[in-house]
Every structure is written in C-alpha cells, then in structure tokens.
C-alpha cells in the first residue's frame, strides 16, 4: 500500500506546470506536545504514546482523509531511501529505530514526520513558487491537529522546539531553485554570502555547498522567532525575486559572452542523455540541469522541463532500484540509470537555435 504511493508517478491532473528557476515550494512547521519530553530525550514508551496520540489527532482531519500512516521501522530500507530522495522525510528520520512515524497523503503534497527531532514536523509541498497556498494548507493542517492536541507553547517564546533555532513560529519556509547561471558564472559563493546577511540560508540540495549537483539549491529562512509567519514569507519572497532576477541576468550574460561554449554544453548534454550506457547520478543531474536550462532558453520543447524535474528524482540510487524492483549493486545501477535516461530522451530533438 505504502509502496504503491511511492511508486506512483507524481502528478494527477491538477499538477501545476514546471516553471523556470523555481522547482518547488515547501513549508515545514515544528510542533511538540505538552507534557512529553522531546523525542531526543524520550523513552520508547513515551515516543509510542506521542505517536498514537498524534495519529489519533490526525484521523479526523479533512486534509488528511486521503492519507496513510506508517511506523518508520515497518518500512524497508529501500522505501526509507525513496522517501529521503523525494525529500519527504529527513535522512535522520529514516535512521530511527523505534517509535517514529510518517503520515503521507496520496498525492504526496503533505508529509508529517512524527518523532523526528520534534514530536511533529508538518510539511506541505507544491511544485513551482506558491507560498500563499502552501502556507494556507499547512496552517489548516496545524490548526486541525491542534484542535485535538495541546501544543507546548509559551506566550513569549512561541512554539517550543527541541532546537532553539526553530523556536517561535517553528516555521521553515523554503524553495528549491535551479541556479545554473549563477553557478557557471561563478557567482554562487557571493550570492550565498549576501543572502546569509539577510537571514536566509542557502544549501545545495544534492551534494554540498556551491557545487551542488544539478545546480539545485534550497533557499530558506534562518530565523523563526521575532517575526510573524507572513513577515518571514514576505522577506523570503523578496529575496527569491531578486535571486530569480540575478539568475536570469547571469544566464543572459553567459549567452552573450560565451555563447558557443554554453550552447556546446547544452547540446552535448542532450547527446549524452540519448546515448549513455553507464552513468552515475551526479553526472546525470548535471546533464539534466543543462536540459532544463535549454528549455528555459526556449531551445527545447516545454515538456522537457517537467521531464528533467522528474528525472532529477528518478536517477537517485534508491529510485533506480525501485524501478528495477530489487536491490542492485552500484555498477549495475549506472547501467539501469543510463537505460532509463536513454528511453526518456530517445526522441529529444536537437537544440532549436532559431530564436537565438
């Protein structure tokens, strides 16, 4: 049952179209129950009590009636890895021994982690850039749960969390951004520094720091106390807007100053994806990044943007094994990954340079 949700192609009819630069929006709320120690300090029996209280509280909620709940230790190693690769749960939660759980909706738009670092981590995700609907959704879920559970809360400090960095709103709002222009023009370190000054954190989503695989970054608020949720979102939003501008500027400048080299890279990326027979996930991510970039330039049909986004996830090691239906060793994985990419890019056209 759970396996089938993970295996399902993301989508459904209402899936918004993939847009340039911003891949997805996420809000995470950290909450704890009154009168129970935080998970890091709790006995297994206390964690079990929290888990069942939370699941009970969620059973009647409208937004969750199409969801399933599982205990983490009932999941196979592979299912846990899949959840991590889809950014639905943290690597930390995937490693816990006992007393932790996950509530996941069928459309994978909400995933609630129970007994991670805090009792509850309510997460709502959506493709594209859309904080207002994501916040509304997360806020409703939170209020629904709170109608049945007493939260640990202090009038002055707000929601009490295991780590003081999450205190107050307990909210981490983030977007996944595709920033190949800033990476290729070697501006990423500068941007990270500037943005950090504004209380905004940037980290590579796959890999580390400014050399993130696929040039994909997660941008989020660092501070959670002393501002309302809407003020935090507003500040983050204005930073994002300026990041998008800078990224677009960097792209245009690359196309002007170093046109042939850039076109060569994008063109070869498509060639590699059509012809590879062995490929590691890091290289695949970088090729897919160039496909997404070419699509944004209007040199590839629109549908390749969504395909690149899907492949970013499906080339991860767990997903390759999921589609193979069994655990396989890394070299065989590289072969299967190449096959997957070849099949998807079989009919991909050459770059259309007519408008450039």
């Amino acid at each position: 049952m759970f396996h089938s949700i993970l295996n399902k192609e993301s989508g459904g009819k209402k899936q918004p179209k993939a847009i340039p630069v911003t891949l997805s929006t996420r809000i995470r709320l950290a909450r704890n129950l009154r009168q129970f120690p935080f998970p890091g300090r709790a006995e297994v029996s206390q964690k079990r009590a929290v888990l069942s209280k939370c699941i009970d509280a969620m059973s009647g909620i409208k937004g969750l009636n199409n969801s399933i709940s599982v205990e983490v230790d009932d999941l196979s190693e592979l299912d846990r890895q899949i959840l991590v690769e889809q950014h639905l749960i943290s690597p930390e939660l995937s490693q816990v021994e006992e007393g932790s759980g996950i509530v996941l909706t069928q459309d994978r738009a909400c995933c609630i982690m129970i007994n991670e670092e805090d009792h509850l981590r309510i997460q709502v995700l959506r493709p594209g850039l859309d904080f207002s609907s994501v916040w509304k959704h997360a806020d409703e879920l939170d209020s629904g749960i709170e109608s049945a559970i007493n939260y640990a809360y202090d009038g002055e400090l707000g929601f009490l969390t295991a780590c003081p960095t999450n205190l107050g709103t307990g909210m981490r709002a983030s977007v996944m951004m595709h920033l190949p222009g800033l990476v290729m023009s070697k501006n990423m370190d500068k941007v990270i520094n500037a943005v950090n000054q504004l209380g905004i954190a940037v980290r590579g989503l796959f890999g580390e720091g400014s050399d993130a695989n696929g040039s994909i970054f997660q941008i989020s608020n660092q501070q959670t106390l002393g501002e309302s949720e809407s003020a935090i979102i507003e500040r983050l939003n204005s930073t994002l807007e300026s990041l998008v501008k800078q990224e677009n500027f960097a792209r245009e400048k690359l196309l002007q100053d170093d046109r042939t080299r850039l076109i060569d890279k994008m063109s070869r990326a498509i060639g590699s994806l059509k012809t590879c027979h062995l490929i590691q996930s890091a290289e695949a991510m970088d090729l897919l990044s160039l496909v997404r970039l070419a699509t944004d330039f209007g040199m590839m049909p629109e549908k390749f943007r969504g395909l690149a986004d899907r492949m970013f996830i499906e080339v991860q090691p767990g997903h390759v094994q999921l589609s193979a239906g069994k655990a396989i060793d890394p070299s065989r994985r590289d072969e299967l990954r190449a096959e997957l990419l070849r099949n998807h890019f079989l009919r991909a056209p050459l770059l259309d340079l007519s408008s450039h």
Binding site: N32, R34, Q35, F36, P37, F38, G40, R41, E117, D139, D142, S143, E146, S147, I149, N150, Y151, A152, Y153, D154, G155, E156, L157, G158, F159, L160, A162, C163, P164, T165, L167, G168, T169, M171, G199, Q223, T224, L225, G226, E227, S228, E229, A231
Partner: protein, 162 residues
C-alpha cells in the same frame, strides 16, 4: 581545552562550588604539579585563589532540568533542549543566545488558540477544586456551595462544546 595557565593541553580539571558559585579550572600536568594540586587531599581551589586567576562561570554549569534530566553541559554540547520545562531552567543562558540567533526575542506568529484555552480551562478547574477543598476544610460551607456550582457550570460548559 587549554591549560588555564599556559598553552598546553589541560589534563587536570577542577570544579568546586564556593559561596554557591561554580568555579572551574583546567590545568596541564606541569602547572598542576607546580600548583600542588596533584595530591587529591590537597585539592582545593580556594588554596589556589591567590595564585591562579579563576574563571567564574556563574551558576550555569550546575543547571539541570529536573523534568527531563538535561544538563547545561549537554545543552552546550548538542544545542538541543529536552522538554518544555528546559525552557524555564535554561532561560538565563538561552536569552543571550536567542538575541543573536533570531530576528527578535518575542513570538509574533500564530497562537494555538485551542491549546491556550484548554490549558487555561484546566488551570481554572484545578484552582477551583483547590479552593473548594480549602473551603471545606475551613468549614465555610456557604463558600463551598458557591464554588461547587461554579465548578459544575464550567464542567457542563465543556460537555456542551465537546
């Protein structure tokens, strides 16, 4: 950790409470010898007061949350608190940290209205029950009857909304 007296690695760690304040000192083997603290019977920081400048670490080092057992050391090391009561216990060391960590030190976000009112309700039931008990003990039956009515009203109120 470096020796309090020179740059060597410290191997001798002294802790003593003087006038309710925690004093800590870390010394290397050599300095410990020189100060004559290697003999456990002689181990008294007060003897060293005039010789070595002491680091006074307020009362922080001895802080411990009675509710969950988290110590100040653990908090300093892992950066995590263990329960909601920790926020009261460690508040003095937490406040200066929050100042640098966040945009402000006062919560301006969402208020969990349900939790707040339920907690307030529990507290008023609790205090009414306590007052009632006091009234009965003092044989103030008029007051007791009045409190009993209030309690009944409050409890009916929840049944109606539940």
């Amino acid at each position: 950790m470096k020796c309090h007296h020179c740059d060597n690695q410290s191997t001798v760690h002294l802790t003593q409470i003087l006038n309710g304040q925690m004093h800590k000192m870390d010394l290397c083997e050599g300095c410990a010898q020189a100060k004559g603290v290697t003999n456990p019977e002689n181990l008294s920081i007060s003897n060293l007061m005039d010789k070595v400048e002491l680091e006074v670490d307020s009362n922080a080092a001895s802080m411990v949350c009675e509710s969950c057992g988290t110590t100040h050391q653990e908090f300093k090391k892992g950066g995590r608190l263990g329960c909601e009561a920790c926020y009261h216990v460690f508040r003095p060391v937490l406040d200066p940290l929050l100042d640098g960590m966040h945009a402000g030190t006062k919560h301006l976000g969402k208020v969990p209205a349900g939790s707040e009112s339920r907690i307030q309700f529990e507290q008023s039931i609790h205090s009414l029950k306590k007052d009632l008990q006091d009234a009965v003990e003092k044989e103030d039956y008029e007051k007791a009857a009045e409190l009993r009515d209030k309690l009944r009203d409050l409890e009916n109120q929840t049944k109606a909304t539940a």
